[in-house]
Amino acid sequence: MQIQVKRDNEYVPDIAKLVKKTKMTEYEILFEFVFDNQEVRDLFTYIPGQFVQLSIFGIGEAPFSISSTPTRKGVLQLGVRNTGDLTAAMHKLEIGDKVGIRGPYGNGFPINKLKGHNLLFVAGGIGLVPLRSVINYVADRRDDFGKVTILYGSRNPEERVFVDELEKTWSKIPDFEVLQTVDQGNDTWEGNVGVVTTLFKKCLVDSKESMALICGPPVMYKFVVRDLLNLGFARDEIFLSLERRMKCGIGKCAHCQVGHKLTCMDGPVFTYFEAERLQESI
């Protein structure tokens, strides 16, 4: 059960201030925001996998997956690639600048179902942004979950996000295994080269007692899911986070309709079983 400030008008965001900006790659920055209003700050919480609508006033509003974990209270982080008008404006924000944030919206990953299971994370590129929320949740509630395997694929070594956490934090946690791959290596890259599915051969993934969480570019899902099914994962043990264009985030504008469901209200997390039944989903 989430406790939130009840809004009279769901479209009007709360004002938040940029407090930290961490450059991750040439194109990605991790932003950290704090709400101006003390009551909102106290009550704002979320489920890993949920998203917020972020406004840069005068430019617009767009949905962003939350990258922080609710287990670390008072921290709201969004990992954002500079790729459009709004994200370009975001990248120019300075510490102290004001934005609008409303949410959280969407269903998020089913944390209670994941409890007691081994977890396999498969992330491609900035697909790691929403999965990081779950990974750190699991790290903070270590006893509630089994073995954790993180497979991360990226175009090249420079475009990897959260490298410090991958290499210095997560890989050091007992029963956490981190494997990385890149489509194209460079002079210093000594790791795996190939798409993310090539990592399946490099680790022992046991589908028993396991659940898989996937997020990445649209093209990735089909191949990852195929391999997971071959490994013996059931269709409802595979969770996908989908991306769609959104304007309202609250089931009104219909931009994010996928099949007969709405990504903002019914998703963005769907089991593969559900996704198979949604036309054009993956």
């Binding site: 479209y11 009007v12 006033f57 509003e61 304007k247 009104k252 709405l262």
Partner: protein, 353 residues
Amino acid sequence: MPTYTIRKDEIPKLVETLKEKYEVYGPVPRRTSHVFDKLDDVSKLDLDYDSTIMSPKKYLTPNRQVLMRVGLKETTLEDTANESTMDTPRILFGVHACDINGILFLDKVFGGKYQDVYYASNRENTTIVGLNCISPCKYGFCRSVDKNYVFEGYDLFLTEVSDTHYYVHVGTPKGDRIITYAPELFSETSIGDNDLFKTALRKKHENHPDELYLDYIHETLDMAWDDEIWDELGELCMNCGSCAMTCPTCYCFDVEDDVDLSLSTVERTRKWDTCLFHDFALVAGNHNFRGHPPSRLKYRFYHKFRAAIHDHGEIACTGCGRCIEACPAGISIKDVLHRLQDYWASSPTVTGG
């Protein structure tokens, strides 16, 4: 339940009386068709209209609705939701059953878990005087989609029972208020009036063709996903969005920040949008989930006749026929459904027409 009659030639007087308390909107002639417009000149009101170019949804979810005003300097937010609770309440006069059903559909879309306060206040501020269609309109097929009558959604409802009189049903206290504002114009009905009403309804049912079989339409669409009809129609469709703009149930919107010339104030504004437009499913990084034009036209059908059943328990079509009239490519939603059902439906399709 009290019912009334009102003389047709007293309608202008009724509207004049109501204009003291309301802004009254109704169908008026515009070139070769009709439009809903403010009745500054009551003599322009033409209740004998076929259909209107746009549906009355434009008064409940207008093409341009300011959601909030933002001062850029200090980042101040001014919620404009209360502004849409206009000082003067509105009456929509002479709304056909299809459009009332369209409004009932929009009620579901803008209600639910997250209330849309802009729509809700426009709706609250609006009184609807419905009008029964004894004869069908040129492009409509309301009876085929079960939208040729109203259960609720009207405040007053007029049925033409003779050359001189309307029979009046009162649906809500809002409608009752209209009666109390001009009591001398309404007479309580007699047994004779009730007979006339029944005769009028019978005439209506005889006049309205039931020409389209829509049962199992969601199953049909499941089967027709790869049908060549979508590419064929996609070639014709210009993705102009006229069908969606004129549709009483299409509600998709875009939200834009409109900045004033001095770059000091922003009006965050929602505007009508449609799934037929190229950028409807375009996301950052230039990935378009529906970049191929036929996929957008197909999606419109799947949303209306499949997803809407999931989301709101009914199809998103009132059979008003506006899209058929508006389409510059000559695509008829009725003919498309006919073709699909003829080929895919598990039961016989045509029951008439």
